[in-house]
Amino acid sequence: MTLAQELITVGMIVLGTVATRFLPFLLVSRKKPTPKYIQYLGVVLPAAAMGLLVIYSYKDVNLLGGSHGLPELIATLVVVGLHLWKRQMLLSIAGGTVLYMLLLQFVF
């Protein structure tokens, strides 16, 4: 690719990303009231989107090979357990992550 072609390619990636982020806000008019259906989605979607995001973050786990997702499972259980027990966000996250690193580097 020439420099111009590289700039256009990156420009397309910026355009595509910005489009997916701005589109909902551009489609909903400021003057007219938001349609009831969209209002409903606005209320129920956050929970579903968080669920999607959780699964998305495990997408590269290989259940059939390697360690069969065992380190991910153990570390996740620890994160959930710590959070239900102490409800200290940083403790839950740090505990699970440090354990995961130890599991990956020394056990599996």
């Binding site: 590289e6 256009i8 968080m50 999607l52 994160v79």
Partner: protein
């Protein structure tokens, strides 16, 4: 309270929520900057791409796209598909980002997965300016990613540290925020639908093609559940 005090107070409330993202973004940003320079690109490439694109997974894909034949339309379609999940975030944040004035542009421009998850699920303490809280989360996350990219690009191939597994910090963040969201709900239909539909689509379609089908199943499910959910009061 003076505007300055408002801003400082919001920063104080926002910063702790971004600490996991600080760790995750600096680490992943370094990985990205390091990877792209190791693939033979000048350090300015990852730095400029992080500043403009600002979408982690897409930036890793960019490295490959710049090595292929020139095909801007395919690149645009691919970007729309990989980033389609942002559409959901936008709909979810329509209300929260409504009355924030001029901050709105950057809140939307900088709406990365992690930033969305915090701004969506965080319990903003009473008395703290919500607009400034969300803007600080967005600005801090953006800066973390830029710092990471720059460090990675500059280090090139000099450093060897065993950071294997550190990226789990972002997974742990999502799990914790999911639990926080869960606590706020009266019913859990939507959360369970999000988990179940996405997991099913991941298993059926594989990790390259599952996002769009998952979004469609979630939309269909929520549409079907509209009447029962509205009745139970989850919709208001």
């Amino acid at each position: 309270m003076s505007p300055k005090h408002h801003r400082a107070q919001a920063l104080q409330a926002a910063f702790p929520y971004t600490i996991p993202i600080l760790t995750g973004f600096v680490f992943l940003g370094i990985a990205y900057g390091y990877y792209m320079t190791a693939e033979g690109f000048h350090a300015l490439y990852p730095i400029m791409i992080s500043l403009t694109v600002y979408a982690g997974s897409m930036e890793f894909v960019t490295v490959g796209l710049l090595k292929e034949a020139f095909d801007p339309l395919r690149v645009l379609m691919l970007t729309l598909m990989i980033n389609a999940r942002h559409l959901f975030y936008g709909v979810a944040m329509l209300d929260k980002y409504r009355a924030v004035g001029r901050k709105k542009f950057f809140l939307i421009y900088g709406m990365a997965d992690e930033t969305f998850s915090v701004n969506c699920a965080a319990e903003i303490p009473p008395g703290v300016d919500k607009g400034w809280f969300m803007l600080w989360v967005t600005v801090l996350d953006y800066c973390y990613w830029q710092v990471g990219t720059m460090v990675g690009a500059a280090l090139g191939s000099v450093v060897r540290i065993n950071t294997e597994g550190l990226s789990f910090v972002l997974t742990a963040l999502f799990v914790v925020l999911f639990l926080e969201q869960w606590r706020k709900e009266k019913t859990h239909h939507s959360a369970l639908l999000g988990l179940g539909a996405t997991l099913a689509c991941l298993l059926i379609f594989g990790n390259q093609n599952f996002i769009i089908p998952a979004m469609l199943v979630i939309l269909a499910g929520l549409t079907l559940l509209r009447k029962p959910l509205a009745k139970e009061g989850e919709s208001l």
